[in-house]
Subunit: 277 residues, 2 copies
């Protein structure tokens, strides 16, 4: 029997009959079934198919050591957040998760109170809170890695040179508390100088993410927590281009005073609740 | 409302509400719906998702002027042939179509009877036939472009240097006939030194295509025809790794005699039936 529109999917699934890896077989069966469904629903012309081939090729070729355009694509299509939802189903009162994003990079450990903003000038801000477990027990010695964009909307890794800035790892004190100094985070566009930027443009979608600070928190015996804290009032909270906002992660940026440094500053309070492994 | 497993797909589809291009909107709606279905069915771990990101990235980065790994991926997943089936629904008795493949390249025009095998030695073969329309009227002046692999299973573009070999364009004579000399085509593996080769290996699938000669036929007033002629008896006719075999395109390779060149040779007869635009 010739390969045709009716038997196409079965023909390809049959070609997987010898796969020994059952998990891979399940994954490929699902991919082929839905990929063929898309082709049948859309009936692409040869030109449209070639545009898709070119888009995927350019997306791969935009990737390098500092840029991962396929992760960006996964982010703007809601796949990364769907994966996050599936892999981090909320069970109790632990802090909710959100996407890792493409800008995580190694950072140095700093001490309680240190300033992570070394090479940028912005609105001073103290970020602090406590690390708990779901039963309100304080967790000492938790590793709290943070990273954020500067007032120009850029992460250090998006700039020339290898300066590490606006990122560090802190350790919670005996009473579970942490505190660091930084500058107020700013909303920013995801990188739009590649195929994903072109796609957003064609989709008449803006490329902005609301202001946030990334957190990756680890403590012995607890699940690793990857999340953000968002700033209340940001104009992109309702339309984050990567769909990563959760209401429970939004905090008010309060006006305050930094008594140690004797100057006005903002203050952001963000408690972290960890879940046992 | 937060983005979650239940509303994820709707949230992304809602982000397309401003698209002016209705065709693009239909395509993206179908892609997102099925892409999210795959994620929900498979529930990939973060590691599995990262493997997929890496696979797509490597596939893009394997592409260059002479290699299109995403087309190869489309081929081995049956997408190219499904697209061919959708875009070339058979209406009458015209010759059936099959995939273009990744090895089409510019070629010179040759005269009736010329030999396209310039730099390879193999079993001599005459290929001939007539170009008709579906009402059996002969078509003169049709352009018949052919290309094939050599006895080593390689196309010219897969070799070092820029030698054009085993490809040419012929023009049908006043009586609709064409004839060229070549060597017997050989089954061959698709290129396996990239991510698609690794995928086939993981899927426990062989990479072979049965012996064939590619044809691209064009005539004024007729639809362009992209097809192959396959050799009867080839051991890969039932399991072509790109699903491109159609029974109506298989021909017997007969033993014969080349009286002009006074030597034994094979003979392959392949008539071509064109459909009006």
């Amino acid at each position: 029997m010739d390969f045709n529109e009716k038997n196409a999917t079965d023909a390809v699934l049959d070609s997987f009959s010898k796969i020994k890896d059952k998990r891979l077989k399940k994954i490929m069966n699902s991919i082929i079934t839905h990929l063929h469904e898309v082709v049948k629903e859309v009936e692409p012309t040869e030109d449209e198919w070639m545009k898709a081939i070119t888009f995927l090729t350019k997306t791969g070729q935009k990737c390098d050591d500092r840029r991962q355009e396929f992760i960006l694509l996964s982010d703007v299509l809601g796949v990364s957040m769907l994966l996050d939802a599936i892999n981090n189903r909320k069970t109790k009162d632990e802090t909710e998760t959100t996407v890792l994003g493409p800008f995580h990079a190694p950072s140095l450990t700093m001490s309680y109170g240190e300033n992570i903003a070394k090479n940028v000038v912005g609105d001073d801000c103290i970020v602090s809170g406590n690390v708990f477990d779901v039963n309100k027990n304080l967790i000492a010695g938790a590793s709290i890695e943070v990273w954020q964009s500067g007032p120009d909307g850029l992460y250090d890794v998006q700039k020339e040179g290898d300066v590490v800035d606006l990122r560090a790892t802190f350790i919670s004190l005996e009473d579970g508390s942490y505190l660091f100094r930084t500058v107020k985070p700013q909303f920013y566009p995801i990188p739009v100088d590649g195929p994903v930027g072109d796609l957003l443009n064609n989709l008449d979608r803006h490329p902005y993410r609301p202001a946030h600070i990334h957190f990756m928190v680890k403590a012995d015996g607890y699940k690793d927590l990857v999340t953000h804290v968002f700033i209340d009032g940001d104009k992109y909270l309702q339309s984050d281009t990567v769909f990563a906002v959760k209401k429970s992660l939004i905090r008010k940026l309060e006006k305050g005073f930094d008594s140690d440094e004797n100057k006005e500053c903002y203050h952001l309070e963000f408690d972290i609740v960890m879940e046992k492994k």
